[in-house]
């Protein structure tokens, strides 16, 4: 299973990809990830490639091959649609992160068009106001855990509690309760 995680530097994407990968290792699966670390982490576009259950493969998901696109930001979802396989699923947080160039007016950010595009062109797309749920959990910074919680409804090769446990291992104990809430809110938001 190939999962591409897309978003903006600072949203906790590396934590999300590590948690997924660790949970998969716990479940006895072979894993490859590729992360964006370095300059782009400063408010730039970032992606993590997460490949679960692969053996003779590199860390990068080819174009048109991802089973799931997990997007923590709507414009970044669109930017990375090329990775999604035909019939693949997308889970998108609808809250935009307005880049400075858009705030300055030198770059467009047509949020309505972007959301409409995702809804009308991807049958397997689920949109979620993850920022509102993160705030409800206690902090906008728990948005990544909201999204991981929602993702478990897409059928992962390990149980939800294993994923949550691996994510919490990567966080200081002082924020465990808040992130547990965020994960649970995300999980329930998309529960069928």
């Amino acid at each position: 299973m190939d999962i591409l995680i897309a978003g903006v530097g600072g949203q906790g994407i590396i934590l999300a990809s590590r948690a997924l990968a660790s949970a998969a290792v716990t479940a006895g699966l072979a894993v490859r990830t590729a992360e964006t670390i370095g300059m782009a982490q400063r408010e730039g576009s970032v992606v993590s490639h997460v490949r679960l259950g692969v053996q003779e493969a590199g860390p990068l998901i080819p174009y048109g091959a991802a089973d799931i696109l997990l997007a923590l930001e709507p414009a970044e979802a669109c930017r990375n649609l090329k990775y999604l396989r035909p019939g693949g699923k997308a889970l998108v947080s609808t809250a935009p992160v307005i880049p400075v160039l858009a705030a300055l007016g030198s770059s467009p950010y047509p949020l309505e068009d972007i959301l409409a595009y995702l809804q009308s062109n991807l049958s397997g797309c689920r949109c979620l106001d993850a920022l509102a749920l993160a705030r409800e959990a206690g902090s906008p910074r728990t948005l990544n855990l909201v999204m991981l919680g929602a993702l478990v409804n897409f059928g992962l090769p390990f149980p939800a509690d294993v994923l949550l446990a691996e994510a919490l291992k990567l966080l200081p104990a002082s924020v465990h309760e808040m992130n547990r809430r965020a994960f649970e809110l995300g999980r329930r938001a998309l529960e069928v």
């Binding site: 903006v8 894993v31 408010e43 080819p62």
Partner: protein, 593 residues
């Protein structure tokens, strides 16, 4: 039970299992986490670790340990090897006693570098064996083996991961940490004193070691042959897996030679492979290091094989590879029609550009803003350097006119000053970079009395690479912080000033004072990076007071400031630096109590 390790952590683990005593490094993406992991796990295993002042010093310290027979590791990014080159080139002639491994991480793309230079080519230039891991697990195994090889050959050995190994994670079955033998100790011997006569002898020895290394690699498990007919691929590094995936996608089987030891090339193994081939495509990122050696080998052996790769344009020398790029090259090589795997979706709506920029609350924003304001009526050039503050070149601050390499802000400024006497030169350099490469050009400016304002942007960390320590800080036991102001004064800088860059008035005052100083002046703008401190407060906009003039957005370009219905909103990334409140003409920003 295997554990999930990032490539850099796998390298660190391999080094600890190999019994290193000393590990040194200077931070640089994508190599930084090797030392971070060693600092985490090393002390328990009795490993001395340090962030050295720069890569040259790091190599020399590790070499010193290896002279005494201890195993040592030094890690850096590809351009760090340029800084260390003087030591590395001579060290190849002198050799080592204990195993010395240089892990040099390359960054094809580039993602976070000024160049796409290929360390395998550097290894060939330095006449040092190099190992090219294809994945984190192999990086772990290669690192362990590299120490044995180093001691067999008495040569430093280079392990060259790329970004997609260093910053990739994989499950790795790790071994145990065996007890280490005692350090034999340094034995005084003329062999350690390089003189022209010794260099002449050692050059003959070094050339012989190339053939010994080649022989060692002939039976290396890091090279592997799979025969499937007379058309084949030679690949190494992560490209090996791009090839296996691309072949699967194209649904063809080809003969495959995996090369994990690109220099010196195990010629017998390759020759044997080539004799069975009619056509071969060589797939390697960056420079045609393997390809050139294969062409020479085929020519010298008069092998009737057609060799393709970079020289005939199947693959580029620039940029990073992936499955799609390799599949396209393979399809062309095999004259196959390739299906477009991307989903046929309608044209996307316009998407916002999202380049990296200063975080909310970054003190560099205040530094650049204040200096631009203070120098508004003067002819100035702002030379810049390597670090987070390079992002000061981006709009709206646009406060950096040059960036070349570590420390070049000071050197370039001195050259510009010599030919543009009417222009005021301001060199911006970070605290860690100042120690790394800023001291010799500072001494030079004082010695030559070149008028120049050096601005040390001191955020009390090496931020861009993940917040590592540096000589200006005492973060470890037994360390002493080197005071930048005292260093500058001791070098003979007469105007040395300090301010907090989030105090705009004070910063503009010291900027004006420094710009008026006759000789070299040095300004330290000190405020800790907001990524390593807890925000004390935050701000919000009083929408009734806000006139919607957008001064805050247009002048500061802070990601926390977002336009909202003719007004401005401050989002949750605010760290309370207060710059927007200080420049708001309507005093519309309020501190959240």
């Amino acid at each position: 039970m295997p554990v999930l390790l990032m490539g850099n952590e796998a390298i660190a683990r391999g080094a600890i299992e190999a019994g290193i005593r000393v590990a040194t490094s200077y931070p640089g993406t994508p190599a930084s986490e090797i030392m971070t992991a060693l600092m985490h796990f090393g002390p328990e295993a009795g490993v001395y670790t340090e962030w050295s002042v720069n890569e040259k010093v790091a190599v020399e310290i590790a070499a010193g340990a290896a002279y005494a027979g201890a195993r040592a590791l030094v890690s850096m990014k590809q351009m760090g090897l340029n800084v260390a080159a003087d030591a590395v080139m001579s060290l190849a002639y002198i050799g080592v006693k204990g195993g010395l491994v240089l892990v040099v991480a390359d960054d094809p793309g580039p993602h976070s570098s000024q160049t796409e230079q290929d360390t395998r080519l550097f290894a060939r230039f330095a006449k040092l064996p190099v190992l090219d891991p294809s994945c984190p697990r192999e990086a772990y195994e290669m690192t362990k083996y590299a120490f044995k090889l180093s001691e067999t050959l008495n040569l430093p050995v280079i392990v060259r991961p790329t970004t997609r190994v260093s910053h990739a994670c994989q499950e790795v079955e790790v071994g145990t940490i065996p007890p280490r033998p005692p350090v034999p100790g340094f034995v005084k011997d003329p062999r350690w004193v390089i003189m022209p006569s010794l260099a002449a002898r050692q050059h003959v020895w070094l050339n012989k070691q190339q053939e010994r290394a080649r022989a060692e690699f002939a039976a290396s498990p890091f090279n592997a042959v799979q025969l499937e007919g007379p058309v084949g691929v030679i690949a190494g590094g992560p490209s090996y897996f791009y090839v296996t995936e691309a072949l699967e996608r194209l649904d063809v089987k080809l003969s495959l030679l995996k090369i994990g030891t690109p220099y010196p090339l195990p010629e017998e193994l390759v020759r044997e492979f080539l004799t069975r081939m009619e056509r071969v495509l060589i797939v390697e990122e960056q420079e045609p290091v393997v390809e050139d050696q294969v062409i020479r080998l085929a020519w010298r052996n008069r092998l009737p094989v057609e060799l393709s790769g970079k020289h005939d344009g199947y693959l580029p020398r620039e940029g990073e590879f992936n499955v799609d790029r390799v599949a396209a090259a393979l399809a062309r090589f095999l004259k196959l029609e390739q299906e477009n795997p991307a989903p046929g979706l309608p044209a996307l709506p316009p998407l916002p550009a999202r380049p990296p920029l200063f975080c909310a609350g970054c003190p560099h924003r205040g530094s650049f803003y204040a200096f631009k304001q203070a120098a508004r009526d003067q002819e100035v050039i702002f030379t810049g350097d390597i670090g987070c503050y390079t992002l000061g070149a981006a709009p709206p601050l646009a406060a950096m006119d040059t960036c070349l390499c570590m420390g070049a802000s000071l050197g370039l400024a001195q050259g510009l000053a010599r030919v543009q006497p009417g222009t005021r030169l301001v060199a911006f350099i970070g605290d860690s970079t100042f120690f790394h490469a800023g001291l010799p050009p500072l001494v030079n400016a004082v010695h030559q009395q070149t008028p120049l304002v050096v601005v040390v942007l001191d955020n009390e960390t090496t931020a861009m690479t993940g917040h590592q320590s540096h000589p200006g800080l005492a973060t470890g036991t037994g360390q002493r912080a080197v005071d930048i102001a005292r260093v500058a004064r001791a070098c003979g800088v007469e105007t040395v000033l300090t301010a907090d860059p989030l105090d705009l008035e004070a910063t503009m005052a010291v900027a004006r004072q420094a710009l008026a100083a006759p000789g070299p002046a040095l300004v330290i703008l000190r405020h800790p990076c907001p990524q390593i401190t807890k925000p004390a407060t935050r701000y919000r906009v009083n929408a009734d007071a806000c006139t919607g003039c957008r001064t805050c957005i247009d002048e500061l370009g802070c990601p926390a400031l977002v336009p909202a219905d003719g007004s401005v909103m401050i989002n949750s990334t605010c760290t309370g630096c207060g710059l927007c409140a200080k420049i708001c003409p309507a005093a519309a920003m309020e501190e959240v109590v």
